[in-house]
Amino acid sequence: MEVLRIATAGSVDDGKSTLIGRLLYDTRSIADDRLEAISQASKRKGLDFTDLSLLTDGLIAEREQGITIDVAHIYFSTPTRKYIIADTPGHVEYTRNMITGASNAQASIVLIDARNGVVEQTRRHLYIASLLRMKDVIVCVNKMDLVSFETSAFNAIRVEVLGLADQLGIDRSTLHFIPVAAKGGDNVVTAGSDNMPWYKGPSLLALLESLQPGKGLTDLPLRFPVQYVIRPHQDAFHDFRGYAGKIASGSWSVGDSVVVLPSARTATISGLFKGTEAVSSASAGESITVTLAEDVDVSRGNMLVRQDQGGYPEVSNFTARIAWMDEHEMKEGKTFLLQHAQQVVKVKVLGVEEVLDIHTFQRAEEKKSFHLNDIGTIRLKSAKPLFLDRYADNPANGAFILIDEFSNNTVAVGFVS
């Protein structure tokens, strides 16, 4: 069975949690005891309807304030696929949690309140979708009931979003627009809402069902970061030395010639194992163990690539777009630990090339440092070579995180440009 990972995004109070609740409710994915629990909680709050957002706002602080603070992961299945929804916060303060949810998704649902139209958060979400190169962006214009289900309200928003997408270089074919009323369920699971006869497109669920899962990573050059060296030290496997990891991109077979980075030594694949079984080939996304015919030095953080694909990724001085996620300001000259796949290397920020003004998508002229939730471009120098691709060429091997050496916190995500 296939897995489709989706992230939601939207501004505060535009009804993300309600939309997800509706999706679960109308697909009968909510158990009776949970429904009963939120129905009781709604009554205690004095509401005259069952507040479906209570399903996902799982933290005390969230229920207290009625907002989503952190990503909730929600699951439901149809006969053909399993869905993992990262329900992410809309409040600007929690943008980092939104990126956390979106980084693992291949489709994004951006909610817009039909009454308010495009707001700052919409621009931010679209920018992040373009930063992550999201395969599908579904714009749900919600609360259509509050604009009398008028087609003009929906169309005005659609035109504005398309304009923003053009500005950001988002391919129009990746965008989908659906007018919904999450509270009443219009166009969420079933299409053909009597309230909006002018909308002829699919419901949200029907659209999700039609998306192609997978990221096309198998067709890219092989990238195999070594996670862990397996040495059994047992009589039965006395000389066994396996290199375990998850294939980031590409595919390979037993007998292929590979190059070990950074030593550039070549070797031949003598065996591939999936769990306890030997296999003849493996491709992107699979967690495997590989053995080599030659006795070469390979350790965690090294990367194996295929010799016949050439063009090995290796950089030590590069620019990247980053999203800054820490409360502390980041300035030029600071050092961090950069984690890319299983490699951790010390890096220095040589320069801040630009910090973005989210209102205009242009450089914010006066800014030379990053504050929480800022997005921009920096130049980095690393102490050792990194085996990074450009994110645009290979999203599975072009992203990294920055870690503060003193707090140990993850302070930024970066995309090699």
Binding site: A41, L55, T56, I60, R63, Q227, R231, K246, Q342, I403
Partner: protein
């Protein structure tokens, strides 16, 4: 992997990847083993992750003393079969040391008490990572937790200070005294676990399958009758055909009336069920935020 698999194999790839990150990033990890289906699944995944080597970390069982005897028998058999290293620490010892106080009354349970025993074991063995079988679909506070969940010196979880977790890059860097709780099957649902058990042919304790046992009825739930459960005179034990959807402490795990005695039957039953898995766990029903509050003080 064959596309005929009902279990989403991407979840297995992810779980094995997480297991290997734990072995590589930490010096003294442990796998929290309860004898339930989720931790049995974890052991199976760990064997696959490190094959042909042995699992490179011990299993830690916090024994409440109120476990089902079937669970303990299964645990010992599994350890003998896999050659895994088992460490057991007892809630009774924490009680005897005066660190925790046994609850009293009709709803007394040792479930809360095991947190202290767990934290003591983490300190005793200096575990820096504890792998657990928690799933995000179980409970709404769990749905918020990261895969690498950093805990402070007291094992506490601060939901507002969680590290961003981007793509599959897991940051396990911690200060001395802190530890990380790791959840490789976060993204699995109850049904995913059962489909995996079916496709991989895993053995489970007999409790999961329909059997006749002595129970009492309380608040619409069926409780296993045992010396640990405090009953009132009107709660008369009777025999019924039941099974358990979760296996925890005997005092907080209710049974469901069921004839399902095979994995296939159980899968059909879950597909038709209208009550969630933890709907029969009294520890979650204590308040709307019961799980979050337990996690704040170190529960796994």
């Amino acid at each position: 992997m064959s596309s005929s698999s009902i279990f989403p194999r991407a979840l297995e790839e992810e779980a094995i990847y997480i297991m290997r990150e734990v072995a590589a990033q930490f010096e003294r990890p442990a796998l929290l083993f309860s004898g339930g289906k989720d931790s049995i699944t974890l052991v199976h995944l760990a064997r696959k992750a490190f094959y042909p080597a042995a699992i490179p970390f011990p299993l830690l069982h916090v024994d409440t003393g109120h476990n089902f005897p079937e669970t303990i028998a299964f645990r010992d058999e599994l350890v003998a079969r896999t050659g895994a290293r088992l460490i057991v620490r007892y809630v009774q010892d924490s009680i005897d040391q005066g660190k925790v106080k046994e609850e009293t009354g009709k709803f007394a349970s040792r479930n809360m008490l095991q947190t202290v025993t767990l934290l003591d074991a983490i300190e005793e063995f200096k575990f820096d990572a504890c792998i657990g079988g928690a799933r995000r679909d179980e409970e709404k506070a769990r749905a918020k937790e990261r895969i690498f969940s950093v805990r402070d010196d007291f094992g506490g979880w601060d939901a507002k200070k969680q590290r961003p977790e981007l793509f599959d890059m897991l940051n396990g860097r911690i200060h001395v005294g802190e530890n990380v709780r790791v959840f490789p099957i976060s993204n699995w649902t109850e049904l995913d676990v059962w489909n995996y058990i079916k496709e991989e042919g895993l053995d489970l304790p007999s409790l999961y399958f329909s059997h006749e046992r002595s129970i009492i009825e309380r608040d619409g739930f069926y409780w296993p009758h045992s010396e640990f459960l405090q009953t009132t005179p009107d709660e008369i034990p009777f025999a019924a055909t039941v099974r358990f959807r979760t296996v925890g402490d005997m005092t907080c795990t209710a049974a469901v009336l069921s004839e399902a005695d095979s994995v296939d039957d159980i899968i059909s039953e879950i597909l038709e069920a209208t009550i969630s898995e933890r709907g029969a766990r009294m520890d979650d029903k204590r308040s709307e935020a019961a799980m979050e509050k337990r996690k704040q003080v170190g529960y796994f």
